[in-house]
């Protein structure tokens, strides 16, 4: 399993998001290393299809496939299970993606 973490330095949630990802991977017993990419330019954002920070992909699939394809240096909004908006994906969201990566669409 390949787990990727893409982030933009100016969005403050990346440390906590990466910590949350590693915590869930540990709980799920997934030994993979996380590939961490720091996205620094708009060109990189386009090349990496980066819709915002943080972005987590499992085997190339976004854990929460975005509805639009604007690739830019920005912070990303996740809609949580209870309908709230958060700059962080929930543990449940990460867990579901790690347990069934094939069900996600390409990120």
């Amino acid at each position: 399993m390949r787990v990727s973490f893409l982030y933009y330095e100016e969005c403050p949630s990346h440390d906590l998001a990466l910590e949350r990802l590693r915590e869930v991977m540990d709980e799920e017993g997934i030994p993979s290393e996380v590939e961490v990419f720091k996205v620094e330019t708009e060109d990189q954002a386009r090349q990496l299809r980066f819709v915002g920070s943080p972005t987590i992909r499992v085997d190339g699939q976004d854990i929460d496939p975005p509805s639009d394809s604007r690739y830019t240096l920005t912070c990303r909004a996740y809609r949580l299970e209870d309908g709230r908006i958060s700059p962080l994906p929930s543990k449940d969201m990460i867990q579901r993606a790690l347990r069934s990566p094939a069900k996600s669409r390409p990120g």
Partner: protein, 177 residues
């Protein structure tokens, strides 16, 4: 760093609001406290704290507190932050405070705002008494331990010094042109 420091007077402004009226800081001279909040539509931190700000305005309106939200983002790069989209968001969320457009970004620069959301709380005399973030948890309102903005409001309304006068604003950077 904010150009405004604690103890400074508020910088005056006159900006268009989503109600199609112009809003000047002087319009709120009769308020016991005015909080200028730099925010926007797209930023997830702004959206995460939005309901809390609406609740704070509702809770403190009777005590003559006025929140004034200002969006200074470059709408060309971030079209979700355009003036028409601001109107949509205000209506959809039922904003109970003015939502103003700082298209030239002059006011944001004058205040020294850097993040979204970022609060500048002024007392009745227009003196800056608190600057910073809403509280200590953007992710989970139920897990908030420090209600910095509310605590500062209570202190200002009592005429006393907030226990915490400055916090580091947490959120997206203001999108400069």
């Amino acid at each position: 760093m904010a150009n405004l420091k604690l103890g400074d007077k508020a910088v005056s402004f006159e900006l268009p609001g989503v109600d199609d009226r112009r809003h000047a800081l002087e319009n709120y001279a009769d308020k016991e406290a005015v909080a200028v909040v730099f925010t926007c539509n797209h930023c997830p931190y702004a959206r995460a704290w939005e309901d809390r700000l609406i609740d704070i305005q509702a809770d403190y309106a009777a005590r003559c507190v006025q929140l004034v939200a200002i969006n200074a983002n470059d709408a060309k790069k971030y079209p979700d932050d355009s003036f028409p989209r601001m109107k949509e968001r205000s209506e959809k969320k039922g904003f109970n405070f003015p939502y103003l457009y700082d298209e030239s970004q002059k006011i944001a620069r004058a205040y020294g705002a850097e993040r979204i959301p970022e609060i500048f709380l002024f007392d009745k005399g227009g003196t800056l008494r608190y600057h910073g973030t809403v509280d200590d948890n953007y992710d989970d309102p139920a897990a908030v331990r420090n209600h910095y903005f509310i605590d500062a409001l209570e202190a200002v309304l009592e005429g006393s010094e907030p226990a915490t006068t400055e916090t580091a604003p947490v959120g997206c950077t203001i999108k400069w042109k």
